[in-house]
């Protein structure tokens, strides 16, 4: 039950993009095509989970015992940055073809605040490892949901002529706003 609450909470009620404001840059920047957004969500899911596991270990088994939790930010960012790159290297090493396919399918995965944010939130919410992992995956799904829906709408808006003043980012932000408005309906589910 607790896990279900975590999942529903992260996907719908406190959607990472629409309620927590994390990962807005890719949300606005990489949502041109639906297919790309789908792929992006898959990739984010993996990296986010991995990052959460590793940062969880670092926090609970290095920072806390040594009483240097104030180094959370700097250590997380170092870990996440190297992790993202490590995944890239491994993929490239393991199967160049696979790596290339991902390469033209996805824009680059960069360290975005969604990953760091989720890692920090896992600590803040005092989750245990499994809860943290579930939380990470659910957040990635929430990210995916938001970005895929958004990409769909943007594809549609691309075809109709939005007024000049609102074209691009302003209209995208208003759409995001209305989506956030709609998602408020999930308030109180957990």
């Amino acid at each position: 039950m607790e896990y279900i609450f975590i999942i529903i909470g992260a996907i719908f009620v406190n959607n990472i993009v629409l309620a927590q404001f994390l990962g807005i840059c890719p949300y606005i920047g990489v949502s041109g095509k639906v297919s790309t957004s789908v792929g992006m969500s898959g990739a984010v899911m993996f990296v986010m989970t991995l990052a959460t596991i590793v940062t969880y270990l670092i926090f609970n088994f290095i920072l806390i015992p040594l009483d240097i939790t104030y180094l959370q930010t700097i250590s997380y960012i170092l870990v996440i940055a190297s992790l993202v790159q490590m995944v890239e290297i491994i993929l490239k090493k393991v199967s160049p073809a696979l790596y290339q396919a991902l390469g033209i399918f996805l824009p680059l995965m960069t360290t975005n605040c969604a990953i760091l944010g989720v890692a920090i939130l896992t600590v803040q919410n005092e989750y245990n490892l499994l809860q943290g992992v579930v939380f990470a995956i659910a957040n990635a799904i929430g990210f995916g949901l938001a970005i895929i829906l958004f990409a769909g709408i943007r594809e549609q808006l691309d075809l109709v002529d939005v007024p000049k003043g609102m074209k691009g980012a302003p209209a995208a932000l208003v759409v995001a706003g209305i989506m956030a408005l709609a998602f408020m309906g999930f308030a109180g589910l957990v």
């Binding site: 629409l18 959370q72 930010t73 706003g177």
Partner: protein
């Protein structure tokens, strides 16, 4: 480049929020009031300024390949400094900004500026640039914070001017997006990009 030009560019032509759309998470996340926006803006500006300064000072000692990680470390250090100092001396603001302070690290604006500008220019320009971008960022955050506060709580910097609760939406998540959306449109219109 002319220093005045750098500053004007940072505030208007390449306003990091309205024009470049960088680092939007904190922009949306903390601007429930003008004060919070202002505080976050200053915090980011400080990190930006300091990291630009340090990066431009040590740029010649860093091998190309570890440029970015070094910058990240430098930025992360300043962020942590801000975090510690703010927690010590401005605990209320610290509570309000919460998660978004550590997230300054990944704010593309900060990294981008160190990377693209500070690592290539002399210290003085780098500092000016950091200042300009920081000012642009702070301005935008304060503006959005003010908008949301005015509509959402009928007050500005905490001074309430009309009785009543305000339009709650603007304090909540949707209001952030909507407010930023229209502010961006207006800003672009004013500076003649549209």
């Amino acid at each position: 480049m002319n220093k005045v030009k750098i500053i004007i560019r940072g505030i208007i032509k390449e306003n990091p929020v309205f024009v470049l759309l960088l680092g939007l998470c904190p922009v949306l996340g903390v601007t429930t009031s003008a004060y919070n926006g202002f505080g976050m803006g200053l915090a980011t500006a400080f990190v930006l300024l300091m990291s630009n300064l340090v990066v431009s000072l040590i740029k010649n000692f860093i091998p190309n390949k570890v440029r970015i990680p070094s910058f990240i470390v430098i930025i992360a250090s300043f962020v942590t400094i801000v975090q510690l100092v703010m927690e010590a001396f401005l605990p209320d603001l610290f509570d309000a900004l919460g998660l978004f302070i550590p997230l300054i690290v990944v704010n593309c604006l900060v990294l981008g500026r160190s990377e693209a500008f500070a690592s290539k220019n002399d210290t003085f320009s780098a500092v000016t640039d950091g200042l300009a971008m920081g000012m642009g960022f702070t301005m935008a955050l304060t503006a959005l914070g003010a908008l949301r506060e005015i509509l959402g709580s009928y007050s500005i910097f905490g001074y309430s001017f009309v009785e009543g609760d305000g339009m709650l939406v603007f304090v909540l998540a949707p209001g952030a997006f909507i407010g930023l959306g229209y502010l961006t449109a207006i800003f672009l219109k004013i500076i003649g990009e549209r």
